[in-house]
């Protein structure tokens, strides 16, 4: 290999660690703020406490699954099951609560179910050698089926007020659901950006063979990433159940795609080894703002889908251009 870049100093390149990620998310943050300002000027209804709390609640759920999805995508994998896990876990938590389990136990058991699903994904990918796309496509299909089977296709109403009130509550003027995002984001940031396991996740996504030869236990890293994703999806499933007051196997339909879109808008590369915790956070807020704004502007819901699709293309295109120039 001979490249001209050898002796002469190379144009400064920044690795996708916190430094670059932070700059990049600042630009996305700018876009988000610009949208908020524009919507505040264009409508009377956007900048109201009620609407803003609503926006935060909706974004919170997407943000949580997008963060989990990002762990998986950085290893150059994909988790298509997150939407199905949300539906399935909303059913589980509802059944447990209606079965008389205390709230704390229901939540913990449901999170445990999420962990088990993640471990199963890891097993299929590492031990059986299945491609992540196929493995999680299979569980996505099967989990919906199991959920429907368990409920016979019906919804399970949750009558535990302490549980359902939580999602409507607020602390210090901030909706409880948004506090949950922070509860997830802080440890996720520590794990991905500050701990050695985070480094290993990037290394596996960049070159699993090199990571293995450097002593990284690649299997454990893959198990870790899918477990984080499934556990966060289970958590989002619990919060969804609390928000709508029912457990439904079909809830969260298509959310796996929302989580992938939020992650990619937030700068994650589907080829692996590039991504952050803060990127998908902002990405999910952007997507939610687009949906919320379109509602307030009375845009036909059919058009909303078209606009969202177009904006994803535009945002990711400009983001990639900017990074390539760097």
């Amino acid at each position: 290999m001979t490249t001209a870049a050898a002796t002469a100093p190379v144009a400064p390149q920044t690795k996708p660690s916190t430094g670059l990620g932070f700059l990049m998310s600042l630009t996305l943050l700018g876009l988000l703020l610009a949208m908020w300002i524009a919507l505040s000027l264009a409508t009377d209804t956007f900048l109201t406490a009620n609407n803003f709390a609503n926006l935060m609640r909706q974004a919170a759920l997407w943000a949580i699954i997008a963060m989990g999805q990002t762990f998986v995508i950085i290893t150059a994998g994909i988790d298509l099951s997150v939407g199905a896990v949300i539906g399935f876990c909303s059913v589980i938590v509802a059944m447990l609560l209606q079965g008389g389990f205390p709230v704390w136990a229901s939540v913990l058991i449901t999170l445990g179910v999420g962990v088990a699903i993640g471990l199963f994904h890891g097993f299929g990918i590492v031990k059986m050698g299945l491609p992540p796309f196929i493995m999680t496509l299979a569980t996505m299909t099967a989990l919906r089926g199991i959920g429907l089977l368990m409920t016979n296709g019906a919804t399970i109403s949750i009558t535990v007020d302490r549980f359902t009130d939580f999602s409507r509550g607020a602390l210090l003027g901030v909706p409880n659901l948004f506090w949950m995002v922070i509860l997830v984001a802080v440890p996720a940031f520590v794990l991905l950006h500050l701990s050695r396991w985070g480094r290993y996740i990037y290394a596996v996504g960049s070159n699993a063979e090199a990571a293995r030869l450097s002593g990284v236990n690649v299997s454990v890293v893959i198990f870790l990433a899918y477990t984080v994703s499934a556990m966060l999806a289970a958590f989002a499933g619990i919060l969804t159940a609390a928000r709508i007051g029912v457990g439904v196997a079909t809830t969260g339909d298509g959310w796996e795609l929302q989580s992938i879109a939020s992650s990619v808008i937030g700068g994650t590369s589907l080829f692996g080894a590039v991504g952050s915790v803060h990127g998908p956070l902002i990405g999910s807020f952007l997507l939610t703002t687009i949906a919320n704004g379109a509602n307030l502007l009375n845009i036909n819901p059919f058009w909303q889908r078209i606009i969202t699709g177009g904006l994803i293309i535009v945002i990711v295109y400009f983001d990639q251009m900017r990074r390539r120039r760097r």
């Binding site: 001979t2 400064p12 690795k15 050695r196």
Partner: protein, 513 residues
């Protein structure tokens, strides 16, 4: 256009005195290329004569790759002029280059592994009738080309099933059969065995006889003396000299390349041997059997053999890639079974693998990241990695190994081959080990980097480490190894002390003749 036909029609032959006053087929005047922060080529004047084999040498970063990319239209030039048969040409896109008949064969084969040889030969130029591919006809035509170059494989096999050397021949055949008049080889033999290289040389000579002008880039100077009519030396983006091969010699070329005389490329110091670090007794596993050898501290043990002789498989078993199936392995006096890479690392074995790109580096991550990858555990304070410790370790290796990089945050992909190799070595220096295994450590790196690599060997030995060195380049293992073991077909067939046999003997042992 039938390709078999094309190879045939070049037969008119070059003029008797190719190096005479003929109009250059391609001439560069004041060719200049700047990248942001880099002046890659500085006012290069160079003329290629029709039908010559023109070698270009230079260290990594001397501008060879940039020159190729300008000649093949991959990069636009910053300034300067290019003349084709005396007429100025734009040569701004790859399409321009192909239209003129300029083609390149790269070090790494850039073809589709999942398609057949025939499909690869005709990729982008398929024969179709009413929109239906004429697979049979293409396979027949491809077979004619392959037979014609004396290369015995069926054209219907998948490219990925061939060895790298055979793939390189297919790439060359492909480049040579599209009306090519000017063919550039960029280190084509970096990953080839001697036999594969010989096959490639035969093909190159054949093209040469057919009147194709050839530019040949290689770090292996002996190849240049074997093939070239003239040689040009690049250093730091400037042309140092162009000379007829008959009028120059190896020391002159090396001096031109590195601007210093290398008294002793194979830097070897007298280091006393200590106790054995590793002993294997009848070790058997996938791809090798019954290997018994000893490696002591302060010693370089060389493993020589053709590709596929079982050397890489043997060291991979030492490193836990595939567990042994028989025999024993004694590490520092203790019988051990190594089941996975992390066992090997924990027990003080480090492997610098054969392919930096596929096995050695996380290319789209930073220089510092790669250097620290094996030691993140050690850099962890409590739950998190200490950023100052991480910076300090990375910077120390960059300094000690003289890794040329803009910063520790630069991506590994942006480093030259030699500097990438230093990264792979550097991560083990950070970690520390008792036994270092180097699998083809100097493939595709320049003389200057090789010398630095050999100095690293000496430094490791002085720190009471032991080294296993695998190389397909005989002079390297011959000069450096204190003990040289020859592998053939998975077995250890001969062992020599330092320089106690000549090259021919060792080569014959490796070939089994």
């Amino acid at each position: 256009m039938s390709l078999a036909e094309t190879t045939g029609t070049h037969g008119s032959g070059p003029p008797p005195d190719r190096l005479g006053a003929a109009t250059p087929i391609l001439e560069l005047r004041g060719l200049d290329k700047r990248f942001p922060g880099t002046h890659a080529l500085k006012q290069v004047d160079l003329a290629f004569l029709p039908g010559e084999v023109h070698a270009i040498v230079g260290e990594n970063g001397a501008g060879k790759s940039t020159l190729i990319k300008l000649l093949t239209g991959v990069y636009p030039r910053t300034s300067g002029e290019i003349f084709w048969h005396g007429r100025p040409v734009a040569l701004a896109t790859p399409h321009d280059a192909i239209a003129l008949g300029i083609n390149a064969v790269h070090q790494e084969v850039i073809l589709c592994r999942h398609l057949t040889v025939a499909a690869n030969l005709f990729l982008g130029d398929e024969t179709a009738s009413l929109g239906i591919l004429q697979t049979r006809r293409m396979e027949r035509a491809a077979q004619a080309i392959i037979d014609d170059i004396g290369f015995r494989i069926p054209s219907g096999v998948l490219l990925g099933d061939l060895t790298i050397g055979q793939q390189q021949l297919v790439a060359t055949a492909r480049a040579a059969t599209r009306g090519t008049k000017f063919l550039i080889f960029d280190e084509p033999t970096a990953y080839l065995t001697r036999q594969e290289a010989d096959q490639l040389f035969a093909l190159i000579r054949r093209l040469h006889r057919q009147g194709v002008t050839i530019v040949y880039i290689s770090h292996r100077l002996e190849e240049i003396f074997e093939l070239a009519d003239r040689v040009s030396i690049l250093r730091d983006g400037s042309l140092v000299s162009t000379a007829r091969i008959a009028d120059t010699d190896e020391p002159t070329i090396i001096r031109g390349m590195v601007n210093r005389s290398i008294e002793d490329v194979y830097h070897k110091e007298e280091i006393p041997f200590g106790p054995p670090v590793l002993e294997t007794r009848g070790l058997t596993g996938r791809g090798f059997q019954d290997i018994s050898l000893t490696v002591r501290t302060g010693e370089i043990v060389g493993l020589y053999g053709l590709i596929g002789a079982g050397r890489s498989e043997f060291v991979q078993a030492l490193f836990g890639r595939h567990p042994k199936t028989g025999g024993s392995m004694i590490l520092k006096g203790e019988a051990v079974t190594i089941r996975r890479e992390s066992d090997a690392i924990a027990r003080g074995i480090a492997l610098v693998p054969e392919s930096r790109r596929d096995q050695g580096l996380c290319l789209n991550l930073g220089v510092g990241f790669n250097l620290n990858l094996p030691i993140f555990r050690r850099l962890t304070r409590g739950l998190v990695i200490s950023l100052p410790a991480q910076r300090e370790h990375a910077d120390r290796q960059i300094r000690d190994l003289r890794i040329q990089t803009a910063s520790r945050n630069a991506l590994a992909a942006n480093l030259s081959g030699g500097n990438q190799q230093k990264l792979v070595v550097g991560k083990w220096l950070s970690h520390g080990a008792d036994l270092y295994i180097f699998d083809e450590p100097t493939a595709g790196v320049d003389v200057g980097t090789k010398v630095e690599m050999y100095r690293v060997f000496a430094a490791l030995l002085k720190r009471d480490a032991a080294i296993i060195l695998i190389s397909s380049y005989l002079p390297e293992v011959y000069e450096l190894a204190d003990r040289l073991h020859v592998f053939r077909a998975g077995r250890l067939v001969a062992s020599h002390s330092h320089k106690d046999a000549d090259h021919e003997t060792i080569l014959a042992e490796a070939l089994g003749t």
